[in-house]
């Protein structure tokens, strides 16, 4: 290695103007790197988060004629609706429980347990819902009777149009 060509040893004995230039270059390197880094991480971060934080689109779905949903009885209804899952259009499937005392007002529960999202079962004998995951139980009106959930079953907005029950999911 030719020490005359590459006088690296001299670097450790800087003259004041050299020092200023070196510090300037160093600052330049860090500043440029920071700009590049922030741009990359900013873009990447925003890209990765994507639309994840958007709320779910709500949609009215048709649960059929109320005539077929007899009063005084809990009806389990599966629904499927077309739903955008990023670049796919999928049939989203879900489960609802429909109940009416009088055949005029309807209560619709989402079957999703408010604890950790398992589907609850209707148990006729106990007149309530139960969740298989952590033995939670809910009353007919969706209130928590036992187990870990802190919230009642989610009640969905429902309306009747022309004798047809519509639910907002």
């Amino acid at each position: 290695m030719d020490e005359q060509k590459f006088p690296l040893n001299n670097v450790s004995e800087p003259k004041p103007p050299e020092m200023g230039r070196r510090r300037f270059l160093e600052t330049g390197v860090w500043a440029t790197t920071s700009v590049v880094g922030l741009t990359l991480f900013g873009t990447g971060g925003r890209f990765i988060v994507g639309d994840a934080l958007k709320d779910k689109d709500e949609q009215w779905i048709n649960l059929g004629e109320i005539a077929s949903l007899s009063a005084g009885q809990m009806h389990q209804t599966a629904y499927s609706l077309r739903h955008k899952d990023a670049w796919r259009t999928v049939e989203e499937k879900g489960l609802l429980y429909v109940f009416s005392d009088d055949g005029t007002t309807y209560t619709v529960f989402s079957a999703v347990c408010t604890h950790l999202g398992c589907n609850v079962h209707w148990e006729e004998a106990r007149d309530g819902f139960s969740c298989p995951c952590h033995d939670a139980s809910f009353s007919r009106t969706g209130e928590v009777l036992g187990g870990p959930p802190r919230q009642a079953l989610t009640q969905l907005e429902a309306k009747i149009e022309d004798g047809v029950l519509l639910v907002l999911v």
Partner: protein
Amino acid sequence: MQYKIYRFVLLISLLLWLTSCAAQPEAGSVSTVASSSGATAPSNTITAVKVDTLTTDSAAAYWANAPVSTVHTKATEKGKADGPDVNIQAAYDGKNIAMRLEWADTTESNLNKAWTWDGSKFSRSKDLGDRMGVLFPIENNANFSSKGCAGACHNLDADPEKWWMGSESADSRFDLWQWTAASSNPVGQAQDEWMGAQEDPADMESATHSDALKSGGSVSNVNKAKDGPAFMGNDLSASFIITGEQTPIDTSKLTQGAVIPPSILAPWVGSRGDVQAKGVWKDGKWVVVLLRALDTGNDEDLVLTPPKAYPLGVAVFDHIDLVGHTTTADVLTLEWK
């Protein structure tokens, strides 16, 4: 040194034990229903036992070693009575699978819309024969795997005439082995069929297709005027006529009330005849053995590859039509031992 060997053995056994413990919970949870629905659940799993060679003999010795799953059948129509419980067993060898199904039926109905001679003319009966069907999805099917037959059944319309069975997508088909006492049993077969998507929304049968046929199959036993049968069997007391065993109808040989089978049967040759069957009605119950190749090589058939677990459903028709049949309400799982 001995101290070390002791420690070595201890640690290795600990590792072995922990790893096999870790393997344990998986083994049991393959049947998804078993864990949740309590006491009746284990019978929803049909475990096929490995044997040397299979036959359609329902009394074969290996059936004594095959676990029996008792499954309940329910009416597809709301409010109708449940059907019989079906005892199901399964066995397999390197090439074939056999299923033995046994269910109570007080009447043997082995005629399907047969002709009756009243002394002067023929009339066509509306009575149907007993039937049984086994249904598997051909492609992996999430809906059927968790709901069973209900995953192929479209019975939400208030009008049962609009009910149909099949798939919502042509990419997701079903394999149906349909055994009929009147027409498939006498030739030692169950009809191999498949179901896809509805081809004509107005035609409720348009999702169901018979598998391809090279030759054979039955022909309708009807005369040109369509007011009576064209042939009668050599054996007038038999409930069926096999091709080659018929003679042109000769009413002089018939007594009043004589019954003439409505078809001249011949075995299906080709994909439609993939399923061999032998059914016997005795002492108030049907015992049917179905036998099929694990892989028939035909595209319309499910390929069974042990030890993969398969979802299936079973339906029983007690001399009744599609609307009146009873099916297993939960999904059944076929496993292999």
